[in-house]
Amino acid sequence: MNILMRRLVHLLLLVGALAVGTGAAQAHPHVWITATSELIYAPDGSVTGVRHAWTFDDMFSTYALQGIETKTKGVYSREELAPLAQTNVESLKEFGFFTFAKADGKKEKFLEPVDYFLEYKDTALTLHFTLPLKTPVKPRELALEVFDPTYFIDFSFAEKNPIRLVGAPAACQTKFQRPNDGTANAQKLSEQNFMNGDNSNYGAMFANKITVDCP
C-alpha cells in the first residue's frame, strides 16, 4: 500500500508536470497601469496616507467606458464617470488596492479610499484616490509596494516624478526600485510554486518598491 501511495504521488507529479507544468507561474497581465503616487505627511512628520493616480491603458480604458452615456460623445465629465469610479474603488478593495505598506517592518492597514474620481484625457482613464492609513505612523523606514500578486494588472510607475512626498520632513530620503530585475526571483519562484502549488504571490517579483527613510 505504501509503495502504491508513493507511486501515486509520482503519477500525480508526472501528470501535473505535463498539465500545469508550463503554466505553473504564467499569469499574464491584461491591464496595464501607469502610476504616480504621493505620500502624504502630517505637520508632525507622520505619514497619514497614500494618494494614487493610476492611468489605465488604451484598451482597458475603452472597455471600462463601455455603455456610459454622455452629453457629448467622446467627452466624459467627472460627474458622468462618478458611478464607474465608485465601482472601481469597490472592486479594488477586494485586492487591498494593490498597495502594501510596512512601517519599520510592521504591516500597516489602510482605511476605505477617499477623494476618488476618474478623469478621461487622451483616450485614457485615470483613477485618482487617496488611501488613508488606519493609524498615522512615524517610522524610520517606510516601505510601500505597489503590485498585483496575481499579475493580472501590470503596474509601472511614470517616468517623471513617479513618487512624491507631500509635506515630509526635509531629511527624508526616497528610494524607488522598479521591477526590472526579476530574473533570479522568477526562477526561484517558479520552482517553489511548482513544489507547493502556490502561485498566489507570483506578481511579487513585479512589485514596485518605494522606501522612505526619515532619520
Binding site: L11, L12, S91, R178, T183, A186
Partner: protein, 357 residues
C-alpha cells in the same frame, strides 16, 4: 524487495519527463538568446523574468499591446487588418501557455480517458473555438445589442465562469467515479501477486502447504482477470475502452465545460474594436486568436497523451503491475480534473481573472 523495480520504473518515468521539460526550457532559452532581446534595455522596460516564463510574458505583452494600436490604424488603413490578424494569431499561441484555456483540464481528461492524440487535437480546437464564440456572443449581446456597461458585462462573465468551473468539477467527479472503479479493480487484482511470489519461494518450507496452494489458485484466477481486462503486453488501449458510441458525447462534455469560459483578453479586444466601429475586425481577431490558442493547447494535449503512452510502454513489462500502474495514472488524472474544478471554483487555483475593476 520485489516491489522495488516498480518503484524504480515510476521514478525513471518521472526523471524522463523532467529531463524533457528541462531540455525544452534550455532550447527555448538558447533561441531566446538569438532574438533581438539582448540589446540594451530602455529604462522602465517590461519586467524581465527568467526562462520560458519571462519569454512568454514579454512576448504576449508585446503582441497584446500592439493590438489596440493596430485596430485604431485599421480604421483608416485596411491593410492593418492583416497585421491585426497576424498579431492575434501569435498572441493566441503565446497566451494559451498561461493559466486558463483548459490546457490542464483537457490534458488530464485525455490521460484519464484513454483518448488518442488525434482526438486530443480535435477537442483542443473545438474548445478553443467555442471560447472565441462565447466571447463574441457575450460582447455582441451585452455591448452591441444592449449597450450594457462594463459592470454588467463583467457580471455576466463572472456567472459564466462559475458555471464553467462547476461543470469541470462535475465532469471530474464523474471521471473519478468511473476511473476509481477501474483502479480499485486493478488494485484488488494485483494484491495476491506478492503472495504468489512468496509461495514460490517458500514452497519447501513445511508449514501451510495447503494454504499456499489456496493462494496459488486464487492468484491464478485474479491474474486471468487482469489479463482479460487490460492486456499487459498489448500496446493499445483495451478494446472496451476505445471510443465507443458514447465517446464523442463524453468529449463534448469536456469541450463544453472548458469552452464556455471565454478569455478575458478576447473580451477586451472585442469591446475595444466595437468602440472603434471595427467590431467585425474584432470578431475576426478573436477567432484567429482562438486558432492560435488551439495550437498550443493541442500541442500540450499531444505531449500528455504521448507521455502516457510512454508510461504504458515502460510499465508494460510486468503484467499485473503494469495494468495497476496505468489504472493509477488514469485515476490520478481523473482526480486532477476534479481538483481543478473544485480548486477553480473555490479560488484556490489562480485562473485568468475576469475583467472587473
Amino acid at each position: 524487495m520485489r516491489l522495488k523495480p516498480g518503484f524504480a520504473r515510476a521514478l525513471a518515468i518521472c526523471v524522463a519527463v523532467a529531463v524533457v521539460v528541462l531540455a525544452l526550457d534550455g532550447v527555448i532559452q538558447v533561441l531566446m538568446a538569438q532574438t533581438p532581446f539582448g540589446g540594451p534595455r530602455p529604462s522602465g522596460a517590461e519586467p524581465q523574468a527568467g526562462g520560458i516564463v519571462g519569454w512568454l510574458l514579454a512576448k504576449q505583452s508585446e503582441f497584446y499591446r500592439e493590438m489596440s494600436a493596430t485596430i485604431r490604424a485599421a480604421k483608416s488603413d485596411g491593410s492593418a487588418v492583416w497585421t491585426l490578424l497576424a498579431i492575434s494569431f501569435a498572441y493566441g499561441i503565446f497566451h494559451a501557455a498561461g493559466p486558463g484555456h483548459g490546457k490542464a483540464v483537457i490534458s488530464s481528461y485525455l490521460v484519464a480517458n484513454q483518448e488518442t492524440a488525434r482526438r486530443g487535437i480535435v477537442l483542443s480546437f473545438a474548445s478553443a473555438l467555442m471560447q472565441a464564440l462565447v466571447a463574441v456572443v457575450i460582447v455582441g449581446i451585452c455591448a452591441w445589442l444592449l449597450n450594457a456597461s462594463a459592470k454588467t458585462m463583467c457580471g455576466a462573465e463572472k456567472a459564466i465562469e462559475i458555471a464553467s468551473y462547476a461543470l469541470i468539477a462535475a465532469f471530474g467527479a464523474r471521471l473519478v467515479w468511473t476511473k476509481g472503479g477501474g483502479f480499485i479493480r486493478a488494485l484488488q487484482a494485483s494484491q495476491p501477486v506478492p503472495a504468489l511470489a512468496l509461495a514460490g519461494h517458500h514452497d519447501h518450507a513445511g508449514h501451510g502447504h495447503d494454504h499456499d496452494n489456496h493462494d496459488h489458485s486464487h492468484a491464478h484466477h485474479d491474474h486471468g482477470h487482469v489479463h482479460d481486462e487490460h492486456c499487459g503486453h498489448s500496446h493499445g488501449p483495451a478494446p472496451t475502452e476505445l471510443a465507443g458510441p458514447g465517446g464523442w458525447r463524453r468529449g463534448f462534455g469536456a469541450i463544453f465545460a472548458v469552452g464556455v469560459r471565454p478569455c478575458s483578453g478576447a473580451i477586451l479586444v472585442l469591446v475595444f474594436a466595437l468602440a472603434q466601429g471595427m467590431f467585425w475586425a474584432g470578431i475576426a481577431a478573436t477567432f484567429v486568436m482562438g486558432l492560435g490558442t488551439a495550437i498550443t493547447v493541442a500541442a500540450i494535449a499531444v505531449i500528455a497523451v504521448s507521455a502516457k503512452d510512454l508510461a504504458r510502454r515502460l510499465s508494460g513489462g510486468r503484467e499485473g503491475g503494469g495494468a495497476l500502474f496505468m489504472r493509477g495514472v488514469e485515476f490520478g488524472a481523473a482526480g486532477l480534473v476534479l481538483l481543478f474544478g473544485v480548486g477553480l471554483l473555490l479560488g484556490y487555483i489562480a485562473a485568468e481573472r475576469v475583467t472587473c475593476l
